[in-house]
Symmetry: C2
Subunit: 211 residues, 2 copies
């Protein structure tokens, strides 16, 4: 499937097509508009209190990708991909409270009292730094999964990358300390199939409590 | 859409339909087979070194759901849903190394040398407890997102829940210390629309590096 084909794709087919692609066509471009469409779909993920703990740092351009290359231990896919999305988790997602709830209050979908109750809960939760960090990692990862599926549905290959130097990444791209890097995701035109990959049987990943 | 309808669903439609459902038909049942199908799709998520850091504790039965109720601060959806999946992250996912790679070596898809190199990398990474915990949270969350989408594609409602007492959960269901609870996900038949929910514009969640 090429990027030009329809975006309408069966959900289960998308899940099955999404594999970790490591070889990309280095001459293939993806437009900013197409990436924005993917990121918009990614951002429809749920999040705790709807605080949307993700921020996408999009490395989109060969020069920028070259800067990222040594930080990601010289994995060739970093420069061959059409873009690399650095998925960041927001350690201060509580700062989104007003932006997320005030429009609902103004539109009459939520009472001011309920908003204040939620805001108080959020303030309480964010006094705990461990909570803030866990929430950043968990909720940003939800968006990351949806991002990979959205890109796949559009006909692109993706690969999540956990192997990078987080400290150097923060430094090189001047990422504010408000954010924690969660993963890199390469996006591009696949030119070779993914490695063979096995899934553990569902019996071994599941425990049932039926009484 | 009912659970009886086709599983073929457009990917973007599924993303848009997935909303956090809080009101479920308490008399609606979902079979173990249907839940297994959803969990199998969830488990096709990617993970670092393909270690599959998720474990699903499926609370499937009114008595078991009642035990979970106070742990989740008496949210009615816990008992009204047809099942609640406790998504656990595996702090010792390195223990999956042989299970994940040996069959590939045996089938000739991977050399023994490459497997040993990967195994060494994994041993090194898991000497760092912070890495192990981050990886458990991040990778289990990828599967959690895919789980919610798969259930939605099958016509069910879902809601991710972060508000629960993790310590009591571990105790009540005798969860081994190998695992960290990541979130609960209710699954059932929706009987009321989700709350209105707003997404921040993609401009505000994205930073571009194009040079």
């Amino acid at each position: 499937m090429t990027a030009q084909e329809s975006f309408v794709k069966d959900f289960v087919a998308v899940v099955n097509e999404r594999q970790s692609i490591r070889k990309y066509d280095p001459n293939f471009s993806i437009s900013k508009e197409e990436l924005e469409e993917i990121l918009e779909i990614a951002g429809k993920a749920p999040s705790a209190w709807n605080l949307q703990h993700w921020h996408f740092l999009v490395i989109h351009g060969k020069e920028a990708q070259q800067r990222l290359l040594p930080i990601a231990y010289n994995q060739q896919q970093i420069v061959d991909a059409s873009a690399v999305v650095v998925v960041l988790g927001d350690l201060e997602a509580n700062r989104n409270t007003d932006a997320v709830y005030d429009p609902l209050v103004q539109a009459g979908h939520m009472t001011r009292e309920i908003k204040e109750t939620l805001a108080q809960q959020i303030v309480g939760a964010y006094e705990n730094k461990q909570y803030a960090r866990d929430a950043a990692l968990i909720n940003a990862s939800l968006a990351a999964m949806q991002l990979m599926l959205a890109a796949t549905a559009k006909g692109f290959g993706t690969c999540p990358i956990g192997g990078f130097n987080a400290e150097k990444l923060m430094e090189e791209f001047q990422i504010p300390k408000r954010y924690v890097p969660v993963m890199l995701i390469t996006v591009g035109k696949s030119i070779a199939p993914a490695h063979n990959s096995l899934r553990l049987p569902v019996e071994s990943t599941t425990t049932w409590v039926e009484k």
